[in-house]
Each structure stands twice: as structure tokens, then as C-alpha cells.
């Protein structure tokens, strides 16, 4: 949380250059860093297709998408919180499970739509509680969402007592989970649909624009007459809704739901956002980057499994990739300053 920057006074703007533009020389590293995720994803895909046998098969592509869809939807949602310069929403772990459990536990009584409506209610509750605490009470997002995780996950676990809920064979939910469109699972299309919508919201709508500018400079945004607190609430609500959808997808995929179904989703989703090259200082970033970040880690774990590496190695490699990605980004920012 290096907010220390905010404590420094802005340097006095002595002797501003006379010419209109302050030239900024681009170095190789900045070039690579700015396009990093695109290059790396491309390279990884090519590599996998050539060297990992069975990777290109249609069945495997389905598996890759199964790996990508739920976590990807969460990551896309989390992008809004990250771009609003609030680091992370840890509570997605509790949110995904809540949505999944509600869907499978309550659809018999209330019908699928009824259950979804109830899930939506709780998604909004999460979003608003997190958003208000961070946006209006000016509390640190990490701590707030850490707290709501404890509360939410705890209560969920208390209520479900570890029951694994499962839908009827070939019920609507199961059907959705198994459904294919051409060679792809339906969840892949949900992921892409969410990505497209999120991308439109972030880059094309007034609201997305406010999130970006808030993340880029809170004070200037406020002084432009923006309800900055409201913007933060909005960012968290969007994240919560995405987490809810992810919960549905995950539950439908296996036609089961349990309180522990989304363990580790918080940091894994953030990892995708970061590997995508979105700035954790807010402002800069895009949904496409997050999407590619998700594809990257999904393909990575997929080929590690295909090549018989153990879970341990998968974690080790993921961590190494994150460190590499962020180090590159940081070096690039340095080079840019010079």
C-alpha cells in the first residue's frame, strides 16, 4: 500500500519547458512492457501448439476454457476495483460460493430464476457494503474486503454445514453446464460475453470513464463534480455481479456447489489482472488485458498438467510469472520517467 506518494508535495513547476510537448523517449523495455501480455500470450500459445501434444485438440480447448471461465469472469469484475485504484476485492471468494450455493440450493424451491434473483440480492449487498466502506468511509479496500470475507464465508459455512448441493441430472443447470456451442462450452461464451460487456462499460460508458479517471486522479475527478464515493460503490458492485455470474458458471459446470468451491479465487483473479499488465495504481488498464491474463494462466496450468507437472510446480511457475510480469512493468515505468 505505498500511498506514501500522496504525502509528498507536488514538485514546484519551476521553469516549464518552452516548447509545447515534453518529449518522452520510448525504450525497448517500455515497448515490450506495454505490449507484454499480447506478446507473451501469443508466444505461449504458439509454443503450446507446437510442443505440447494434445494441446490443440478440441477437447483440450474445452478444458482450457473450463479453467478460464469462472476465474476469468471474477478477474474481469475485479478489474473495475483495480482500475479504481483499490487494489483488490478479497471477498469474491465468499461471493462466488454464495452465488453458486444459492443457485443449486434454492432453485428447487424457487426455480432457477428465483434463485438467481436471491443471489443477485446478496451480490448487491456485498458490493454496497464494500463500496460504501471504501468510497464513503474512506477505509482501506484490502482490510474491508478481508472483513466482509470473514463474515460472509463464515455465515455461508454455518448455514450450509458443508453440504454439497447438486442439481438434478440433466436439469436446466446441468444442461447449461454441459451445453456446447459448436466446439466450445457455453461457459466460454458467457466469459466472452461478460468480457465484451465489461469492456464496453469500462471504455465506452460514462460510468466506466469515471472509474478510469477516478483511478487516475481522485482529486481532479472530484473537482470535476463527480460523486467519487458513488463511483467506488459502482466499481465494487460490478465486481460483485461478476463474482455472482462466476458462481453460477462454476456451479453449472460441475452441477454441484459447496461453501468451499471458490477457495483461492481472490489472489488468482488478481494475478490474472496483474499479469494482464493492468496498473495497480489505478487509471491505466483494460478488460482485454485481463482477459488475456486469464487465458495466459489457464493455458499455463493446462500445459503444465498435460506435461505431467505436479500442483506444486504449477504454483511455483505462476508465482514466478507474476514476479516477472510486475518487475517488467516496474522497470518500464522507471525507463519512462527517465
Amino acid at each position: 500500500m505505498t500511498e506514501s506518494g500522496t504525502q509528498l508535495k507536488a514538485a514546484p513547476v519551476n521553469g516549464t519547458p518552452v516548447e509545447g510537448i515534453v518529449k518522452r523517449q520510448a525504450s525497448v523495455i517500455t515497448w515490450v512492457a506495454s505490449r507484454g501480455i499480447f506478446i507473451f500470450t501469443g508466444v505461449l500459445l504458439v509454443f503450446s501448439v507446437i510442443f505440447v501434444n494434445g494441446f490443440a485438440s478440441s477437447v483440450n480447448i474445452i478444458d482450457v476454457f473450463h479453467r478460464a471461465s469462472a476465474i476469468g469472469i471474477v478477474a474481469i469484475g475485479m478489474t473495475f476495483v483495480v482500475i479504481s485504484a483499490n487494489y483488490i476485492d478479497l471477498s469474491v471468494v465468499a461471493q462466488v460460493a454464495t452465488a453458486g450455493v444459492i443457485l443449486l440450493a434454492l432453485s428447487p424451491t424457487y426455480g432457477v430464476l428465483g434463485a438467481m434473483a436471491i443471489a443477485l440480492f446478496f451480490a448487491l449487498l456485498y458490493g454496497v457494503v464494500n463500496g460504501v466502506s471504501v468510497g464513503f468511509l474512506k477505509a482501506n479496500a484490502v482490510v474491508v474486503t478481508l472483513g466482509t470475507t470473514g463474515i460472509g464465508a463464515g455465515i455461508l459455512s454455518l448455514l450450509t454445514t458443508g453440504t454439497i448441493y447438486y442439481g438434478p441430472e440433466n436439469g436446466p443447470i446441468d444442461a447449461f453446464g454441459d451445453a456446447r456451442v459448436g466446439p466450445f462450452p457455453l461457459s466460454a461464451f458467457v466469459l466472452i460475453l461478460v468480457a465484451v460487456i465489461a469492456s464496453i462499460v469500462l471504455s465506452r460508458t460514462k460510468f466506466g470513464f469515471m472509474i478510469r479517471s477516478y483511478g487516475s486522479n481522485k482529486q481532479a475527478t472530484r473537482l470535476a463534480g463527480v460523486n467519487s464515493g458513488g463511483v467506488v460503490v459502482g466499481a465494487f458492485v460490478l465486481t460483485s455481479i461478476a463474482a455472482m455470474i462466476a458462481g453460477f458458471v462454476l456451479a453449472a459446470y460441475s452441477n454441484t456447489a459447496v461453501a468451499t468451491m471458490s477457495e483461492g479465487f481472490d489472489f488468482r483473479a488478481l494475478a490474472a489482472v496483474i499479469i494482464g499488465g493492468n496498473s495497480l495504481f489505478g487509471g491505466r488498464g483494460s478488460i482485454l488485458r485481463t482477459f488475456l491474463g486469464v487465458i495466459f494462466i489457464s493455458v499455463l496450468s493446462n500445459i503444465l498438467v498435460l506435461s505431467g507437472f505436479s500442483f506444486a510446480w504449477q504454483q511455483l511457475v505462476t508465482g514466478a510469472v507474476i514476479v516477472f510480469a510486475v518487475a517488467l512493468d516496474a522497470l518500464a515505468r522507471k525507463a519512462e520517467k527517465r
Binding site: 464513503f136 482490510v143 470473514g150 514466478a320
Partner: protein, 339 residues
Amino acid sequence: MSTTMKLQETQTGTWNRVKNAVARRTEGRAVILLILVVGVIAVQQPIVFNAYGVSLARVALVGLVALGLTLVVLQGELDLSVGSTLALTGVVVASIPDLGLGIIAGLVTGVAIGALNAFLIVLIGVNSFIATLGTLFALRGLAFVMSDGRPVRITDIDSALVFGRELLGPITPRVLIFILLFVMLQFFISKMRAGREFYAVGGNRQAAIDAGIPVKLRLFTSFMLCGFVAALAGVINTLELTAADPTAGSTVLLASFAAVIIGGNLLNGGRGSLVGTLIGAFALGLMQVGLTFAGADREVQDVLIGIVLLVAITTDPNNLRALSRRLQGLIRGKANQQA
């Protein structure tokens, strides 16, 4: 006339001095929580106090890591990798046949990890939150790789068992180490120049640089100390359990983080204290022990800690003051509109 000026802010009289002393502290909320917890326990589970040895042990586990974390937080940084560090060092200790050698290797590992984090953050310039997120994954993975995903038992169990025994009264070596470490760190942070300057680095980094304080060195120091302390916790755990579990420490990060927050340490750095962290750790630790005695579901503990955290962070005096001012402004405005 100079003395009669309102420059004189320091009131005389013991009461005022006490008031000032209190007002200076940052541990308020931690103390309140501690009092609450102790109160409830006294009513519900007095046994906890007979078993204070147990409580101490519990506090020592989380508290140890929390102390290290505090040093980093004081400078406005964060270390998410403490849990993984704890696990990895445990595995290192257990996989080396010679216990003494293992312990040393473990501690060195911890310091090295701290140095790695600091390198990424200070020299490369990565945000500490992300950098340590990366090491969080990588180190945990490494622990699994080294242990092949299963607990590693210490070869020399009997000397390890000695470690768990009580020295005098409830004082086990762990508690002793915890107390010693606290005293040493407290001395470092409050009495040594380098330690005090942590506050400068966190409170106003530019001013610290201008005053010629070696900021980068201070940052390195804090991360390496944090890594060392986490490693120490890993060693102690392994010795007490006579085996290292690669999944160890999974619950430690968030718990110790909570202790730091409750302890009144400002995440932006510059404000807080080890004493606060200690009190915070005690409050949370006692709460958990009490609930365990009460046989409460572990979920209830999670919920309570969550609520405590949420309340603690949303009731930061500064935030509230700002908010109330905003509201007053609005109300007045409305009033005028009616007028």
C-alpha cells in the same frame, strides 16, 4: 509576553499530562477490544485465565508474525508472503537431518526471502502489494516441491520435543522467544535510530530523504526483519509439531494482518506501534481461545474477526472526523435553504 502566548499548547497538571499521554497513543481501539474480550471471557469462560499458558501460546503464534509485519506496515509497505515464508522455512528445517543446522538454514532462508522482496520493491520499484503477492505463490509452490506435498517429519524428534516443554509456569520456549523478540524489536523501533527512522520513512518519505535518512536501507531492513520473524515462527512451529507441513501458515497471514490493523497501525505508514500490534494480537488470540473453550464453531470465530476488522477500519478517527464535517456542511446547507 512570549510565555503568555497561545504558543503554549502543553497544559500543566498531572491530569492534563495523563490526557495528553493517552491522546498520543494509537492503540485505542485495540485496548477497547481487549477489554471487551476479557470482559466477555470473564463472564463466559473464566477457565481461559487459568489456562493462560495456552492463551500465551496462541497469541505467540500469530503475534510473532504480526510483529514482523508491523515493521513493514510502519513504512507504508506490505508483505503478503509471510505465510508462505513460514511454511517454506518449516520444510527447510525439517528436511535437514541436523536440527541445529536446519534451524540456522531456516532462519537464513527467511532473511533471504525478505531481501528478495525488498530487492523487488526498493530497487526494481514494484508495488509491495504485488511483489509479495508473487512471492506468496512462488514460495508456497517451492514448499510443496521440496516436501513433495506431504508433511516432513523432523529426524531428531526428541530434541525437538524438548522445545515444546514448559520451562517455568506457562512459559514455553515459544512464549519466551516471543517475549524476547517483542522486547528486542520494541527497543529497536523506539530506542534505536534506525528503528525510529522507520516512522520517518512511512510518515513523510520525501522529508526523510531530504533529512539524509538512508530510506532504501531502512526499507531493506524492515523487509529482512519481517522475513526473519516469519522464518522464526516457521521454525518454532516445526519444532513444536515435530514436523513441517507445507500447507502451514495458511491461516496466519490474514490473522496477523488483522492483529496489525486492530493494533491501530496505519496502512499508509508512519502511524502505529508494536505495542498496539501486541495488544491486537492478544485481543484476537484470547477471543479465539475463549471461543475454542466455549466450543463455538470455527465459522463463528471467522464472522466475529470479520466484524471486528470491519468496525476497526471503518472507525478510523480521521475518517470519521472528515465524514462528520461533510455531513455537518450538508445539514447546515439544507438548514440555510429552508431559512
